[in-house]
Every structure is written in C-alpha cells, then in structure tokens.
C-alpha cells in the first residue's frame, strides 16, 4: 500500500510538471505580427542542352548599323532589288526613323496616403534588402534577403514563422505550397545555422525561428533559397511569410 501511494504521488508529480510546461506554452500569446511579402519573378531561361565550341572563329561581320546607313543612302545599289513606287521609300527602314503612332495620355491618377507610425516596431521589425527575387529556372540563393529584429521588455519571447495563408490542404500557390507538398522557398538564419529549411506550410502555429531573453534585442539575416521547377510558367508570383512574436 505504501509503495502504491508513492507511485501515485510520483505520477501526480510528473503530471504537475507536465501541466506546468503545458501551461507555459499556452500562456504564450502573439505580441506582434508582420508579413514579409516577396515578389518572385520567374524569367524564361532555358538552359542549353549542350555546347560545342566553333573550331574556327567566324569572320567578323560589318555592323548592322552601317549596312542600314548604306541602304538608306542608296537603296538601289548592290544586287538586291527592292520594290518601290515613285519615291524610294514610303517609310525608310531603320536609321532611327520615327514611325508615327497614335498615342494619347489621359488625365493622371492622383494617389495619396498618410503613413502612420507602427506601434509594434519596438518589438518586431522586418528590414527588406531584396523584396523582389528575379529568378531563372533551377535553384537560386539570396544571402540576407531580409533581416528580422526582435525585442521584448517584459518577459522571454520567441519568434516563429509560417507561410501566410497555408494549410494542410495539399494545394496552394507557388512558391510556398500547402502541406504535404514541400515549399519551393527555404530559409536559413546564418547566425544560428547555415542549414536551409523549407518554409513551414501548415499554417499556425508554425516553426520556431529563434527565442530571446527578457530585454534581449537581436537582429539577424534571413537567407533564402528558391527553386523554380521546369514546369513552372514564367510570371510574377508572391511569397508571404508571417512572422509572429510570442511572449509569456
């Protein structure tokens, strides 16, 4: 009986510790949220299948501009026969000739906004360095594409992230596809690790980026790696990563 009581007390103690840890997690609330919005421009860039260098360099050609100048100067010279009627040219080709085009410029659109200070900037800031990734097909690395600043003055904190709007749906737009597909955009914080990890794409709660002590201000680079698969059409895409500052 005494052994049973001791076992029960031990189990209670373990439960109490687990409950305490669980409560500590549950107490974390989102103090600030920011979205890192990155434009991804995929440009057509088919890689050559092979390359065979010429055995003999080709003879240099006369610049095209001089050929056009000669043609403008005497359009009937040489062996070429050029159809014309009356005058030599209706519109002379090349040579900087301006061809009239109808154009119109309607009234401009006035745009206005009033930028107000960010009350959350004391705790969480995103500092952009490469807001647009112009990428060919294949893998491209962008060192320190942006930086993240974190600080909290009342308790310890943690920074987490996930692909904004992602869910466990299996579909989603390029480049941060929904789970279980793997995101084509990966990140690394080189101050902590040089290993890249695909962005979390299952929505909240996301993945931990780093944690900090009370009153600890820190700012770190985020490196990005993006993969453009061959099947991805050229065009403009957007990657949105949500950063959350969790505090106790």
């Amino acid at each position: 009986m005494r052994n049973a009581n001791i076992a029960a007390l031990g189990a209670l103690a373990v439960l109490a510790v687990l409950a305490g840890l669980s409560q500590a997690d549950a107490l974390q609330s989102v103090r600030a949220t920011k979205d890192e919005v990155i434009t991804v421009v995929v440009t057509p860039s088919p890689a050559p299948i092979g390359f065979l260098p010429r055995a003999v360099p080709p003879a240099p050609r006369a610049p095209a501009a001089s050929a056009i100048a000669r043609l403008l100067d005497d359009p009937f010279a040489g062996p070429r026969q050029i159809a014309s009627s009356g005058s030599a040219w209706d519109v002379a080709p090349g040579g900087g000739t301006l061809v009239a085009q109808s154009s119109v410029q309607p009234g401009p659109v006035p745009v206005q906004f009033v930028a107000k200070p960010d009350p959350n900037s004391l705790y969480l800031k995103l500092i952009d360095h490469t807001p647009e990734l112009d990428v060919p097909y294949g893998t491209t690395v962008f060192p320190c594409a942006f930086e993240v600043y974190t600080f909290y003055d009342k308790a310890t904190y943690a920074l987490n992230d996930y692909g904004s709007g992602t869910a466990k749906s299996g579909t989603g737009p390029y480049p941060i596809l929904n789970f279980p597909a793997t995101s084509y955009l990966s990140w690394a914080a080189p101050d902590f690790s040089s290993t890249f990890a695909a962005y979390w794409n299952s929505g909240a709660p996301g993945e931990k980026v780093w944690s900090g002590a009370k009153l600890q201000a820190q700012q770190h680079c985020i490196d990005l790696t993006i993969v453009v698969p061959n099947a991805q059409p050229a065009g403009t895409y957007t990657a949105v990563i949500q950063y959350n500052l969790l505090v106790n």
Binding site: S102, P106, P108, F113, A115
Partner: protein
C-alpha cells in the same frame, strides 16, 4: 542666213499643222481610276479613378487598425486615397482606376503606366523629401478575389519629364517618345472599345518615414 531662217520657220509651221488632234476631243470617254487612301489610326482613352462601388483600401493585417478611404476618394473621380496606413504593413486599394480605350487601329494598342515622380512626402516633409515608388506602390488587374498579397507588379518612376509635377502628364520626347517597355500594364491586339480596371497595392517597408505622400500615376496609350 536670213533665207535659211525663213525656211526653218516655215518647216516648223508645217510640222505643227501635221500634229494630229487628240482622238478624244469633242467625245465622251470612260475609264476607271484606282484611288488609294489611308485611314489614319486614332486612339482615344480615359482614366477614371475609384471607378466602382466598393472602392477603397483593405488589409493592414496585424497593424491594429482598419483602413478606410481618405476624403479625397469619391466614386468615379477624385484621388486614390488610402487614408491612414501603418508603416510596415500591406494594403490593397480596390477598383483604383479604370482605363477605357477606343481605337480603330487593327493592330491594337499598349497601355503604359508610370509614376510621374517618386512618392513626394509632406506634412511633415521628411528627409529626404521623397521615397522610392519602386517596391512600394504596385498594380494588378482588378479582380474581386484580390488581396494585399495577390501577386502584383511595381510601378516605376518615369525616365521622362513630368509636366506640372505630373499633374499634366509626362513628356517623353527626350526619352524616345514613349514610356519604358517594362511599364506596360495592358496590351490589346485588335481594334475596339474596351476597358480594364486596376487595383493598387501599397507595401510599406519599415524604413518609410511617417508623413503624407502623394504621386501621380500617368497612363499613356500607344497604338501598335
């Protein structure tokens, strides 16, 4: 010599008498004329800000405030006025501008849009007084499902000469007569009477100063 001259004159007069009279004289002749003509291509265009009900800003997720259109925004006119926005957050302005084009050019047209300047800060005047429009103000074709995070392209500052600060347009005569190819926002391949609406996005980096900012977006339509 005189005798020679008289003989020559007499010979000329005789030759003139022998010249035949045109066969058609005094009769009616019929024929056809091949008339070639060209119809000059024409292009007309109008731009209407705030062109549909429901216009105005949305977004600012996480900023703690809800955006609302400023006083300068009115239906079918006025300013694309985002009102108060918070540094570090993203917004979309629905139904910002609609471009309508009428042209008889069978090859269609291209519409370009550029910022007449960078963003001009005032109230208070920041230092420096301007902030880049590139990677701050974006455009995308209007769609009901558009959000502040929908893929969009950035406006650029023109290489031309803004007239009246942009209020009267942009003079492209010094830069080849037309806007940069990269500022194309709409291309149409045939003639017609057509319209296209655009939404604007505002992505405010943390480095933009707190101030009021203004800019003119100038649309230029050129027949192909």
């Amino acid at each position: 010599m005189r005798e020679y001259m008289m003989r020559a004159t007499a010979a000329l007069l005789f030759a003139a008498i022998l010249v035949p009279v045109p066969a058609g004289a005094g009769t009616t002749a019929y024929g056809s004329a091949n008339v070639n003509y060209k119809i000059l291509p024409s292009v007309h265009a109008q731009v209407v800000p705030n062109y549909a009900a429901g216009f105005g800003p949305q977004g600012g997720f996480g900023s703690g405030s809800t955006p609302a259109a400023g006083a300068g925004a009115v239906l079918n006119g006025g300013t694309v006025d985002f009102g108060n926005v918070v540094v570090g957050y993203q917004y979309i302005y629905k139904y910002a501008a609609q471009v309508s084009v009428q042209t008889n050019d069978s090859a269609g047209f291209v519409v370009y849009a550029e910022g007449a300047t960078d963003l001009n800060g005032s109230a208070p005047v920041p230092s420096p007084a301007t902030f880049p429009i590139f990677h701050t103000l974006y455009w995308l074709a209007s769609n009901a499902s558009n959000t502040a995070f929908t893929p969009a392209k950035s406006f650029v500052r023109t290489a031309g000469n803004p007239i009246g600060g942009g209020a009267l347009g942009i003079d492209y005569s010094g830069v080849g007569g037309k806007p940069a190819p990269g500022s194309s926002v709409w291309s149409y391949a045939v003639s017609g009477n057509v319209s296209q609406g655009f939404d604007y996005q505002l992505r405010l980096p943390g480095s933009i100063p707190t101030s009021q900012f203004n800019v003119y977006i100038v649309y230029t339509v050129i027949g192909n």
